[in-house]
Amino acid sequence: MSHKNILKHLSRQEIDHQLNHQGLVLSIGPFVFCIQSNESSIAKNVQRIYCDFQVLTHDDLIDFYVTIKRPSGMRRFIRPQINFYCDDHCPFLPLPVSQAFPLLEWGMNWCIVQHAHRYLLLHSAVVEKNGKSIILPAESGSGKSTLCALLAQSGWRLLSDEMALIDNKDFHLQALARPVSLKNESIRVINQFDKHSVMGEVVDDTAKGTISHLKPTTESVRKMKIKGNAFAFVFPLYQKETSLTVEPIGKADAFMRIIKNSFNYSILGETGFNSVDYLVNHTTAYGLTYSDTEDVLAYFEQLVK
């Protein structure tokens, strides 16, 4: 690998140049992405959110070539739209230009989900403290990302917001430390919780509502190559004005809930079964209902003591 270079050492001009031409090559967890785009919102957000990530060159091996660009023809001018490409392939319908950066984030998730079958992929956030990794699987809207952001801004190491990557060979957790995608109300909640949190541009009217991306902490990005050990599964559920309750989940139940949250369990076959089996037998699982921030943070502190 060539000399270590961090994105924040590159000027905006250099970033623009790379994005506009051959593509900006970023090392993100075990993957290398080459990102190409002429959109200034991509340059602005990438610079802000990915500033701690390592920049590689075109002489390094690259996993995914992704491009965000406007379709040709009249739609460039009238209510302009934007497309995501993974190499020559365009898997999604176009979106309004204002959603360029969220589209890039979603597209990168798509690349990983389609291809990373070395891992059992769970729709979960993963955070770590004291060498103990907590996996937070949850449906969208259950407060997973907010919880993940609260923990990340309180000194927990962020391994992942959108998906847990469990290596099928050694069952360790692979970190990605990609930005946390915050929706609607939670953008304000996190801003108030930590005045120093760095966020990308706020984008309204996406399929998920208003969206902004929280920059992962420098420490989380720096430790990205260090693998995590799964310690517990916590299935969070945010419920307004309730006191915090925790209920243990039995192994059989946990097994079913984990595979329900998996992107590739059925494709992996026996390998996937073995990974879930290992996880269930080496962790404990809880169902967590919460509303108060302080209470929930205290609960997590006590969990990894």
């Binding site: 999604f92 079958h117 595979i259 494709i267």
Partner: protein
Amino acid sequence: MLHSILLSVLIKPNSVSTFTHAQWNLLLRQASTAKMLTRIEHLLTEHKLLDKVPAKVQSHFYRENVKISHLHTQVKQEIQILNQLFKKNNINPIYLKGTAYFLTDLPLAKSRTFGDIDILLNQEDIAKIEIVLKCQGWISQKSDDHDQEYYRNFMHEIPPMQNMARGTIIDIHHNILPICNKNTINIELLKLNAFTAVQDSNVKGNVLAPEAMFLHSAIHLFHEGEFEQGLRGLSDLDILFQHFDQKEENFSQKLIQLAEKINQGQSLYFAWHYLNKIFERKLPKLATHFVKDFKKKVKLASLHDFIFFNMLISHHSSTKTWSFVLASHLAYWRGHLLRMPLYLLIPHLLKKATITIGESFSKKPKVSKLAADLVIPPQE
């Protein structure tokens, strides 16, 4: 022809031993787009070159292998279900293409993905099997009347049917070329010597005899109008031919005889000609003579060369040239004209265009195509 790194590796696998990272990146992109990653892996394994492959590239080979073994598990299950249905209803179909290669355990099957199960039936059994499948949760994929009519009146197959629970797609053929065409094939001649292939004791099915299997693959490729997977099609023919030529006695002779009987000498000529010209394969004597003799009979031989030299290389933005774009258009029209005579084709295309324009005005949202929904597949 612009340099295709994928093609050069298929011709000279040894070239990878001096590859730079940038060259591996390009190979990975071209092979991935051509759906030939696993094929490259098998080729490199065969030539004992796997230790030259960087770990990162190998992990991409790995993910494709995961997908292929998942596919094989699904196909096995589906064949078992279908065979029961066929048996109960006294229908004796022949499996074609991907499913047939899998059932016959051909070397090709290990490096080839496919999207649907193709079967060949007697035309008089079609109505019966359609009802049987509908009762078991299979629905026709084409809902509009024009498409239904098009398939049923002019084509060699009925519209694909999909299982609502499992998502599997089945293509039911009664011939291998459109019936509205003047060059229809006497399908009984192609079916001669079909046999039962046994994948394992629970998974078996009828498949075409080797020479018919190869010819079907060639006929299919050289009647296509779109060639995104053109290079893989030619590579299929390459592996099939090498395999059968070794295993079968007088394989070339059998091919020539069958091709002449069903009036498909040109498809066989194209197959051998381009295996020789594009993949630089040395042909058996009989094949060389056949190609030499047949060349005189081919109309517009240099136009065909222009089309296929461009279409049967990798389709990737890195290899796109003006001649490629021109050849794609020519191939598209050639494909259409081979499917339908002009007096049927023009009304069909006009009708299709009206329907497409109509659809673009109705704002029906397309399902699960939004980037925001990372879809978790339903667990069985």
